[in-house]
């Protein structure tokens, strides 16, 4: 009786382990269908900021620049698509600060991330962009006034934005921009597939086709 008890406990533990690992591996394989490709890290780096459920199977990788007007215009559109497909979409932000001086805004954004206010900061940057970046006339000093609105410590941002780790993130992203041949911002990839003809409708179709493929009805 005692042997049976201990033996069955062993057996249950072993079975739980085996089933647990095969279940987990299956989930991972599904989740990272496109991530399993050899060059997946070109799209999603360890340092990349992501929004959305960790179980999402559709990855929207956006190469952007906080000072880019079209990026700001697309932000509500992406937000809307994500809200309409809860848990299915993950947004990955990559940087492509093409214009001179644009990297300063990426640095501010990354410094805000150190205070845990990444998405709020990106939001306020997009909303106030017209003030500090109208027609590529960058005036960072006009941005500072808006940052405390989301509870940021501006003095800390000024210090943190020169952190060498942020410079490395930008360097890596720019290297990937080259490798993926991103020419303009925002540059979109949905599960590794590039948006070939730019436009709201085209992006919507690309996302929908991946949603249909990953979540068959």
């Amino acid at each position: 009786m005692k042997y049976v008890l201990v033996g069955s406990a062993c057996l249950i533990l072993i079975l739980a382990f085996v089933f647990g690992s095969s279940y987990y591996k299956g989930q991972q394989a599904e989740k990272f269908g496109f991530m399993a490709q050899k060059n997946a890290e070109l799209f999603v780096r360890q340092h990349s900021a992501t929004l959305g459920s960790p179980d999402a199977k559709v990855y929207i990788v956006e190469f952007m620049d906080p000072a880019c007007e079209t990026c700001a215009a697309f932000a509500p559109f992406i937000k809307n698509i994500m809200a309409n497909n809860p848990g299915k979409i993950k947004l990955v932000i990559r940087y492509a600060p093409f214009h001179d001086g644009a990297d300063n805004f990426v640095k501010i954004l990354e410094a805000a991330r150190m205070q845990g206010k990444y998405w709020e900061t990106l939001d306020i940057m997009f909303k106030t962009q017209g003030v500090w970046a109208s027609h590529h006339n960058y005036q960072p000093e006009k941005l500072w006034g808006f940052l405390p609105q989301v509870g940021l410590d501006v003095e800390r941002i000024r210090k943190d934005m020169h952190d060498p780790s942020i410079a490395r993130i930008i360097e890596q992203d720019m290297a990937d921009v080259k490798a993926l041949n991103v020419q303009k911002t925002p540059g979109y990839f949905v599960n590794g597939r590039p948006l070939q003809v730019f436009g709201y409708r085209q992006l919507q179709q690309l996302i929908q086709s991946e949603l249909d493929a990953q979540y068959p009805k």
Binding site: K2, Y3, V6, A9, L13, F17, S21
Partner: protein, 145 residues
């Protein structure tokens, strides 16, 4: 059943629970490292060194029930428990990170997993070791009468 038989049965059951707890802990620990690929930090390894032998020591003590198993198992459980306690304090930031002995490899404050948002791996370990210590002490008291 006589009173002595009943007492013996309860002792065996307590030791079995002890063994079950360390076996479950070991399985979860190996699941974390091999399947989820959470790399164990130095302090985690010290706790594993104390945990894994307990599965065998307590298991052997079950067949037939041997009260001296407590003598061999308790030191391991105490060392493991103390390490887990220290690790939990480090993880919670109560002990500053600068004096931690594990600067190479994985940081001991690396957040991998938090059950219900606050139960960390070191806390689970501490909970398991303390429960084992308590159970072993109960067995010790019951058998030394």
């Amino acid at each position: 059943m006589s009173q002595a038989d009943q007492a013996a049965k309860l002792n065996w059951t307590l030791l079995f629970l002890c063994w079950l707890l360390v076996s479950v802990s070991m399985t979860i620990s190996i699941f974390f490292s091999s399947v989820l690929e959470y790399e164990p930090c130095v302090l985690c390894w010290y706790q594993r060194i104390c945990l894994f032998p307990l599965v065998l020591i307590l298991g052997v003590g079950l067949f037939p029930f041997d009260k001296s198993v407590v003598k061999f198992a308790l030191p391991l459980a105490i060392v493991g428990g103390l390490t887990a306690f220290y690790h939990s304090l480090l993880y919670a930031g109560i002990i500053p990170e600068s004096i931690q002995p594990c600067s190479k490899g994985v940081s001991c404050t690396e957040k991998y997993f938090e059950l219900f948002g606050f139960v960390s791996i070191p806390m689970l370990s501490f909970f398991a070791f303390s429960t084992i210590i308590v159970l072993l002490l109960v067995i010790k008291r019951r058998t030394s009468k």
